[in-house]
């Protein structure tokens, strides 16, 4: 390869301005592709993280109650009204727990007694959702301890953890008491901690209680309204939920079906990113090919001389393929540096009003490596047509010019 590499490098160096333009073109293209990829990957990872931060991957619920009509006699019409869904416990939830936990995809299982209530302090009252949990089990579904803003992370009898907005609305802080009313009971609780669940809406409504207390308040003693699951691969949620539905008279909802709009948006985003990447790559490759075609025409005489003094067709082909590869490699290395610089600038200068980075984006070394490898291979492929033209050149004619 000594001859091919020497001549390829010398040809590129000789056509200084052309080489500069095309390496610049590849650099810009690769920078755009890498930057967009890093940005979108970061954005999507952040969005999913935030969404799943306070949500179970799969929620097991009792099946909805339906009205079964008696077989009406021939020729009669029946008006069937949908039933109101009352708060019910999952049937036989205790034997269900080990069955769910033994599923290979399931990492953690946590029972919950959840329902509507009203939180009252003095004259003020707010509608809230009771989350009756076993704190250590629940911790393995949602890292609630990380979301603690003030107070301590514990949940004994008579204690509660509440969302930040709810605390603000009712003017409460750690150590204060509040009253919780349900349709059948009411009780006083001491606030031991305040949590930020990452969504204003959740923060306004969330009220965590020990599971037994919640069962009593909701009048489902010993029952649970849902079982939260954490699974190994978040994007397997739909498939796992489908499978779990088969193990009993239960309903399994995956985070993917509850957040289908979000997922649609994310996949639309991925499709547009891919399109941008493909089109930018095509433009870059056409650029490499056209510059090399011009270079072959300009270098006809030199190609003829080299052929006359003993260079084979294969050698001439490789000289031009190598030029494509070198341009692709050099351009993509520079482009990767540029993209890394852009990402750094984005995370450093684009900040929320509070001064925190908008979201975390990182350029993965793998992304850089893949981009450089693809650009080098692409450059070589773009050089195929010019290289074949160079190889086919008739040396006798080329020399006569």
């Amino acid at each position: 390869m000594g001859f091919e590499l020497t001549v390829a490098l010398r040809f590129l160096r000789e056509g200084r301005f052309q080489s500069f333009l095309i390496v610049g073109g590849v650099m810009a293209g690769v920078a755009v592709v890498v930057y967009i990829s890093a940005l979108i990957l970061g954005l999507q990872a952040n969005t999913i993280n935030r969404t799943l931060g306070a949500q179970a991957h799969i929620v097991i619920k009792p099946q909805d109650e339906v009205v079964r009509t008696q077989q009406p006699a021939e020729g009669t019409l029946a008006v069937v009204q949908a039933r109101a869904q009352r708060l019910r416990s999952i049937d036989n939830w205790q034997p269900l727990m080990p069955a769910l936990a033994s599923d290979p995809d399931v990492l953690a299982v946590s029972p919950m007694a959840s329902g509507a209530a009203i939180a009252v302090r003095g004259e003020a009252s707010r509608a809230v959702v009771l989350f009756g949990v076993e704190l250590d089990r629940y911790e393995r579904i949602v890292q609630l301890s990380e979301k603690l803003v003030r107070g301590s992370f514990r949940l004994n009898a008579g204690e509660t953890l509440i969302g930040t907005e709810l605390a603000k609305d009712l003017g409460l802080d750690v150590g204060d008491r509040l009253r919780v009313l349900t349709s059948s009971a009411n009780d006083l609780f001491q606030i031991v901690g305040i949590v930020d669940l990452g969504s204003r809406d959740l923060n306004r409504r969330a009220l965590y209680l020990p599971i037994r207390t919640a069962q009593n308040l909701l009048a489902i003693p010993g029952g649970v309204t849902n079982i939260d699951l954490r699974i190994r691969e978040i994007f397997d949620a739909d498939r796992v939920a489908e499978r779990l539905r088969g193990i009993g008279p239960i309903n399994a909802e995956s985070w993917m079906s509850t957040n289908s709009q979000l997922l649609n948006a994310l996949s639309a985003q991925s499709v547009s990113t891919t399109m941008i990447r493909v089109f930018v790559s095509i433009v870059v490759l056409l650029g490499i090919a056209s510059v090399l075609v011009v270079s072959v025409v300009q270098k006809r005489k030199e190609i003829g001389i080299l052929r006359a003094i003993g260079a084979s067709r294969g050698q001439m082909t490789r000289v031009f393929l190598l030029q494509g590869a070198i341009v692709g490699l050099a351009g993509s290395v520079l482009g990767s540096l540029l993209a890394s610089g852009l990402v750094w600038a984005f995370t450093t200068f684009v900040r929320t009003s509070a001064g925190a980075p908008l979201f975390n984006i990182a350029v993965e070394p793998e992304l850089l490596f893949t981009s450089c490898a693809l650009a080098t291979v692409g450059g070589t492929l773009a050089a195929v047509a010019p290289a074949l033209r160079a190889a086919r050149l008739d040396p006798a004619q080329a020399i006569r010019i």
């Binding site: 000594g2 001859f3 020497t6 001549v7 010398r10 040809f11 160096r13 000789e14 005489k301 030199e302 003829g304 001389i305 080299l306 052929r307 006359a308 003094i309 003993g310 260079a311 084979s312 067709r313 050698q315 008739d394 040396p395 006798a396 020399i399 006569r400």
Partner: protein, 246 residues
Amino acid sequence: MHAYNGAAASPMPTPLLRLDGIRKTYGLGTAVAVEVLHGVSFRLAPGEFTALIGPSGSGKSTLLNVIGLLEPASSGTIAYAGQPIDYTDEATLTRERAKRLGFVFQFHHLLPAFTALENVLMPHLIGGGSFRDEARARAVALLEAVGLSRAIDKKPNELSGGMQQRVAIARALFHRPALVLADEPTGNLDTHTSDEVFALLRRFNREHGTAFLIVTHDPRLARRCDRIIELVDGQIARDVANTPDA
């Protein structure tokens, strides 16, 4: 001058080059097919210093390209050292060209991106060598022999026409070819420079026994060769031995 009886009379078992009935037609199979060479046959002995002359359009350059294995003859055979050349095998053609032949063209045809020394070493690089190995000494010696010891690191555009042509000669001789083909090697040089370049070719011919086939328009130069072949309308009109003037 006297008639040249060449290979037939002298004891020469294998000529360096043998051409038998070479014909060359351009545009073969089309309505505008033109036959440029009408059956050219001759032999070259090792170490012969031959001029190929003839008016423009007589087919000199075409004949040189055929001999140089740069384009195939339409019919007839060409053999180097007794071995017929198979034109259908591109790889062999390239190898034979590199091994047996040196080229000196009218317009120097150096590679502008490389220095004089690198141009001379180019056949070596093509053959798998490097610019920095033991062959470098030979290339430097060749450039010294053509009087360019002080220009070895200059690019072609920094050299005069005569100097460029001397670099081209050094390159043609690098592989110690048995035959150097020169197409108007002094065609665009002034008389003085042209004499110098010609003297150089003659010197290598005498010192190393390299055969030369020189296409020229210049009768003055032709008269300084050992043999003159004249091509008229694609046929050999005259093939005579010559006693050089000087």
